[in-house]
Amino acid sequence: MPPDAPRVALFVTCLVDLFRPSVGFAAVKLLEDAGCRVEVPEAQTCCGQPAYNSGDKADARALARQVIAAFKGYDYVVAPSGSCGGMIIKHYPELFETGTAEQAAAQELAARTHELVSFLTRVMGVGKVEAQFPARATYHDSCSGLRELGVRDEPRQLLASVAGLSLREMTDSEVCCGFGGTFCVKYPGISDKMLEKKLKHVQATGADTLIAGDLGCLMNMAGKLKRQGSFVKARHVAEVLAGDYLTPPIAEAE
């Protein structure tokens, strides 16, 4: 690693940490391949979005302060999630009063923070990956990445360079899958209806692999696919771009 390689702090995200570390390691590989020095600050837990979206601004602010402190001094902060990325980039500055030093610190962090795939393409200039992943895939645009951060073409561009992978678009790829954080357990019926519609579109493509950039959405969709007995495998985009086809798909053992 050259001494002037950018120092990138990985924001692991609480779901990747707990449920699917392989996504984190895929992200590390992609960042290192792109020429970054990757570190994982110890004091990170969660971005605070569950509190923020539940109206608990005080706890959201406390967690934001913790993240701001933990990620001080790195050139970039990268998250394998548009949702957590969107929280830091779009919402942290809203948590603090205008004109305060805290807001300035939140804005400074927001300016250095990126969602993984868009970081690779926009900041590191990555145009393709050296990876193999045999799959007929379809890509679901997770809401926050798409609408808060404008991530749309970037994953498709990089996925197009994966050897053995073909991508077919589903109808309504930009419509919510029904996850929505605590929404999916507070309103399970509505969530399930949205999920059913989404998976119909997934299955209509004939794809054998469903790819997305957010583990929350993926756990939601994979959980239902497996409940339905579907053969469609769910994968995080980082795993696919890193060529990690050996780790079992989400919600599967083999």
């Binding site: 110890e42 509190a51 999916c184 497996k226």
Partner: protein, 471 residues
């Protein structure tokens, strides 16, 4: 309609189990979306117009008193009368008063959401005045004694055969053998009945899409022309509108009109854009003898200057409903009050109190599609979140959720403890996955597992593995 706070979950269950509703929603939902997308694509300056439209309304809201007074003066100068109503009661009383003064028996009505907001039909009927809705969708739901389930497509929740059955039941004086299997024949049927009503009506009530301060004009847009007949044929025309419908000039209205129909139905313009200014003047060929405007506040003034002010920019196009996956899953009636969908989830708590609509701001995934398509650039998700903050402050959310969230946040603020807790959780859940990679049921997680499996953790947390790798 049960409006109590607890009704939403029951309404949702009913809606999800209603096959006809689900069919109707999947039939029409996508069509609105495609049409708007096409209209937007065909107008390169669409997004600039949205900015202009937003700025016009922001300017109005910052100077609302000035424009309302200017409007009132212009209406009076053109021979009309303005009635201010702070509450639904006052608005109802004003309208009934006008009806009584002219001894009205029959009132035709153009489409008006404010009329729904003040329950005008019920009030008129209880006082011996018969209201007849003339918008086809409104007419249908009046036959069914329902509320609109959509702001611009009130009967969107119904299938064609349901409407046919309603017509056969109500129109008993018409030939029972008539063909009502196609939509044009349903339209003909309604038209045959409504023509008589237009001619017999003593008073016509319309809503307003805009009130123009510089001229004292009110503007309505319709696709059926029913508004014109409603306001021109009876002796008395009553415009019923809320305070935020005001814009300074006709030029401003035309700017907003350019985004209204495109956002609503994907039309460049609605079929009819109808302007009315005062009663018939000497020499006019038609028009009413009396022209009244009833302007309702109903709590909107309290929204001015708060974090919710932007909701008053709404022009009721319905685009946020059409694009909302939650609305499309449950339909409009589940929302329990007058205004459904994302904008309803923002407006309803402001008008009837958050304690009476505690679920509405929470029943959203914050997917952001509403804000993305709103022609007035209303930050709907942000305002939904503000409502959740109010609920949190006032302890209106379920105690279990509050307690669970508090515990989680307490642990998440202590990284070392959090590391140990997550490592333990990952190990336990992974073991319970029994090598299947997923769990079919998990204690305290039935909200998740009733409809889907829970993917099992891989076994160790990322932080554990990262530490091992560094060793």
């Amino acid at each position: 309609m049960d409006m109590s706070g607890a009704a939403f979950p029951d309404n949702v269950s009913r809606a999800l189990a209603d096959g006809k509703l689900q069919y109707a929603m999947t039939e029409t939902g996508p069509r609105f979306i495609q049409k708007r997308a096409k209209a937007r694509e065909a107008l390169p300056e669409f997004d600039q117009l949205r900015d202009q439209a937003r700025d016009i309304k922001d300017h109005v809201l910052a100077n609302l008193d000035v424009y309302l007074e200017r409007y009132e003066a212009r209406v009076r100068a053109s021979g009309g009368q303005v009635h201010w109503a702070e509450t639904p009661d006052q608005a109802r009383a004003a309208i009934l008063g006008i009806c009584r003064k002219v001894k009205a028996r029959l009132v035709t009505k153009g489409k008006s959401m404010i009329s729904e907001e003040i329950d005008l039909n019920q009030h008129l009927a209880e006082n011996g005045v018969t209201p007849v809705e003339t918008d086809l969708g409104e007419y249908i739901i009046q036959l069914r004694n329902e509320r609109p389930s959509h702001i611009i497509a009130p009967a969107v929740h119904l299938t064609r055969d349901q409407v046919e059955a309603d017509f056969r039941k109500a129109h008993t004086h018409l030939d029972p053998n008539r063909d009502l299997t196609e939509i044009p024949s349903l339209v003909e049927e309604a038209r045959a009945v409504l023509r008589q009503k237009y001619l017999a009506a003593d008073v016509g009530v319309t809503g307003a899409n805009f009130l123009i301060a510089e001229t004292g004009t009110s503007i309505i847009v319709t696709n059926e022309g029913n508004g014109d007949l409603t306001q021109n044929l009876p002796r008395v025309h009553i415009v019923l509108a809320s305070i935020e419908k005001i814009v300074p000039t006709l030029e401003d209205a035309s700017t907003i009109l350019r985004v209204l129909a495109r956002s609503a139905t994907g039309q460049d313009f609605s079929n009819y854009t109808t302007l009315s200014t005062g009663p018939r003047r000497a020499g006019d060929l038609d028009g009413p003898d009396e022209y009244h405007v009833v302007i309702l506040d109903n709590g909107r003034v309290n929204v001015l200057g708060t974090e919710f002010q932007d909701m008053l920019r709404c022009i009721r196009c319905g685009a946020c409903l059409n694009h909302c996956p939650v609305y499309n899953a449950i339909g409009g009636h589940a929302y329990g009050w007058v205004y459904p969908g994302p904008i309803g989830a923002v407006v309803t708590p402001a008008l009837i109190g958050i304690e009476n609509a505690p679920h509405l701001p929470n029943a959203s995934t914050f997917c952001g599609r509403c804000e993305e398509v709103c022609p007035m650039r209303i930050p709907i998700p942000r305002m939904l979140r503000h409502w959740r903050e109010k609920e949190f402050e006032r302890h209106l959310q379920p105690a279990a959720m509050r307690w669970g969230l508090g515990l989680w946040a307490w642990v998440a603020r202590r990284p070392a403890l959090y590391r140990r807790a997550t490592a333990l959780a990952a190990r336990i859940l992974a073991n319970q996955g029994h090598g299947a990679g997923r769990l079919a049921s998990v204690p305290f997680a039935s909200g998740w597992t009733q409809n889907r499996d829970l993917p099992a953790p891989q076994g160790k947390t990322f932080h554990q593995l990262w530490k091992e790798r560094r060793r």
